[in-house]
């Protein structure tokens, strides 16, 4: 470690995880410390590796669809959307407008659910116990809508290649609208608890700064990038699934610290409600399934399709050799790539901030390890 140390101090190596309540799963971080100061880290990952990409090569395109839900399991709907879009790209089909609108509604609901889980656990890590109960209360309402729609709360498998399998249920629009009306004031409620809370501000401001340049160097995307001032969101930059039809803003901040990332995510939840309201107000009539054969067999070729998942750019690189099974599926996971920046963010900081920074990166180990 080239960083300065006191002459006669020795470097302390501290093992954090894989069983640690604040690592949000089985992440192991080996910390090198000089007193309270972090000199460097080494992340040990892979505890949840299930070989998702290998499984893909041994399943048909449709059979693999449910597996993607098990990567970022708190945002399974986004995972499914990305995969379906990638295969649809290879097949050169597009989901019909009705399916696209329902996809947007569910995906944005999932963004809210994912951000709520992040907020609750992040606050819990910092020592604020109350928000987690509030967050889970509202998250449950979103999950109920998933459950009503497709029978599952978390690993939803909500979408099919080419569109949707299920029509919306009776009262879907009403429930989604009711959720939006209920949810917006709740965001204010969370903010009341936290935004100006002196302890919260003290623990987050200026902690784990990642500048825009560093974000680009490390390939960090999502709220972390936007908190550093880069107004970039794939829903705007390269719209998919009809996002170009909806009006919404890309919230950004300037400092790129943990507090700014908190602000950005809070704003994103509000924007998600805005999108859902527009989408649910006029879901087009029509079919929910595009022209996809019973046997999905794309022509020889390859495509990379990515979406703005709650955690950043989630991409699927799918290679077809003309068979019914994908020749190769590569998942570009936002959590894995973002986690790489952890070392840069904690270096030179205090050991207590490591927990805050892991929380603010909003990683899901199922997606890091795949």
């Amino acid at each position: 470690m080239p960083d300065t140390t006191f002459l006669d101090s020795t470097e302390l190596v501290l093992n954090m995880g894989p069983q640690h309540p604040s690592t949000h799963g089985v992440l192991r971080v080996i910390l090198k410390l000089d007193g309270e100061k972090v000199l460097g880290t080494d992340c040990v990952i892979g505890y949840l590796h299930r070989g998702v990409e290998k499984i893909a090569e041994n399943r048909t395109y449709a059979q693999f669809n449910p597996y993607v839900d098990r990567m970022d399991y708190v945002a399974a709907v986004s995972n499914g959307l990305g995969y379906c879009l990638a295969v649809e790209k290879l097949l050169n089909v597009e989901a019909p407008p009705r399916a696209q609108a329902v996809r947007v509604i569910l995906t944005e609901l999932n963004r809210i659910a994912s951000h709520l889980l992040w907020l609750g656990t992040h606050a819990l890590d910092i020592g604020a116990i109350t928000p987690v109960f509030y967050c889970f209360r509202e998250r449950e309402e979103a999950l109920k809508i998933f459950e009503q729609y497709c029978g599952a709360r978390l690993t939803t498998h909500a979408f099919r290649i080419g569109g949707l399998q299920y029509e919306t249920y009776e009262g879907f629009e009403k429930e989604v609208k009711a959720f939006c009306d209920m949810f917006l004031p709740k965001v204010d409620e969370y903010e009341e608890l936290l935004t100006n809370n002196r302890i919260w501000v003290g623990r987050l401001k200026g902690v784990g700064i990642l500048s825009a340049e560093e974000c680009k160097e490390y390939g960090v995307t999502g709220p972390v990038l936007r908190a550093a001032g880069v107004k970039w969101d794939l829903r705007k930059a390269q719209p998919y699934s009809g996002y170009e039809k909806y009006e919404f803003d890309i919230p950004t901040c300037e400092n790129g610290d943990t507090y700014d990332r908190y602000i950005v995510r809070m704003q994103e939840m509000r924007q998600a409600v805005r999108i859902i309201r527009q989408a649910v107000a006029n879901i087009p009539e029509g079919p929910i399934m595009g022209k996809v054969g019973k046997v999905i067999k794309p022509a020889v070729g390859e495509a990379y399709v990515s979406i703005e998942a709650p955690k950043g750019e989630l991409g699927y690189y799918v290679v077809s050799d003309g068979a019914t099974q994908p020749y190769r599926v590569r998942v570009r996971p936002p959590s894995f790539v973002n986690l790489q920046a952890l070392d840069r963010m904690v270096r030179g900081g205090l050991v207590a901030d490591v927990v805050a920074i892991i929380g603010t990166l909003d990683i899901v180990l199922g997606e890091v390890d795949r």
């Binding site: 050169n92 490390y218 020889v300 690189y317 003309g322 590569r330």
Partner: protein
């Protein structure tokens, strides 16, 4: 990619020739219906179905011309498929192209590095870099075909994010990157034997010895 398959396909019958009639290569295995034995001309089958090569069309733009002019025959191909552009370069110039694209083309975000295994091909692996430019809002894939055992240069000097991405490629495919600061496995245990995303690694295969020694069980399956 698939262009390279044809030589592999016509090549293959000679080693397997003694074995008898087993012409279908991986691409031909794609079409399970025609059971009657086919002559080894792998490309000639199934006229109504799409050909066994990727129907990529040449990609012509300022950037493509610029790359060709700058790198000459080290850029072997500039193509586009389903609206996505890609460049095929010689293995030794991939990092130079990445650097050029970053500095001159503003492709400042390395999205991903991955590989695809084509065991029948002499250059066994596709090594794929995906880059994106915020200012141009444009995505580009840089592909290179490398043989097993070839050590491509690391891209860490150009994009820091290549560090973990290359480690994962090494972990899964056994492609070692020359000059990488930390060439260790990343998802699998350090002592694990075998590279799971190679096509000759069976789906239920595992490192038995590692499992027995470290987990104390007969099998993880």
């Amino acid at each position: 990619m698939a262009d390279e398959q044809k030589p592999g396909g016509s090549d293959a019958p000679s080693p397997e020739g003694g074995e008898g009639v087993k012409p279908p290569e991986k691409p031909a295995a794609a079409a399970p219906k025609p059971a009657p034995p086919k002559p080894p001309a792998a490309a000639g089958h199934a006229a109504p179905k799409p050909p066994a090569t990727m129907a990529a069309t040449p990609w012509d733009s300022d950037l493509a011309r610029d790359l060709k002019q700058r790198f000459g025959d080290r850029v072997a191909e500039t193509s586009t498929y389903v609206g996505q552009n890609f460049v095929v370069v010689k293995p030794d110039s991939a990092v130079a192209v990445l650097e050029y694209l970053k500095l001159e083309g503003d492709f400042d975000y390395l999205v991903d590095i991955t590989a695809v295994d084509w065991p029948k091909r002499p250059e066994r692996f596709d090594l794929v870099y995906i880059v994106y430019s915020f200012s141009r809002n444009e995505r580009l894939r840089i592909k290179t075909y490398i043989a097993d055992g070839y050590r491509p240069e690391t891209a860490v000097g150009v994009h820091l994010t290549a560090n973990w991405l290359e480690r994962e490629v090494y972990d899964m495919f056994g492609i070692e990157f020359a000059g990488h600061p930390d060439m260790r496995r990343i998802l699998l245990p350090d002592e694990w034997q075998g590279y799971p995303l190679r096509k000759d690694y069976h789906i239920i295969q595992q490192d038995q010895r590692w499992v027995q020694e470290n987990l104390g069980i007969e099998s993880g399956q």
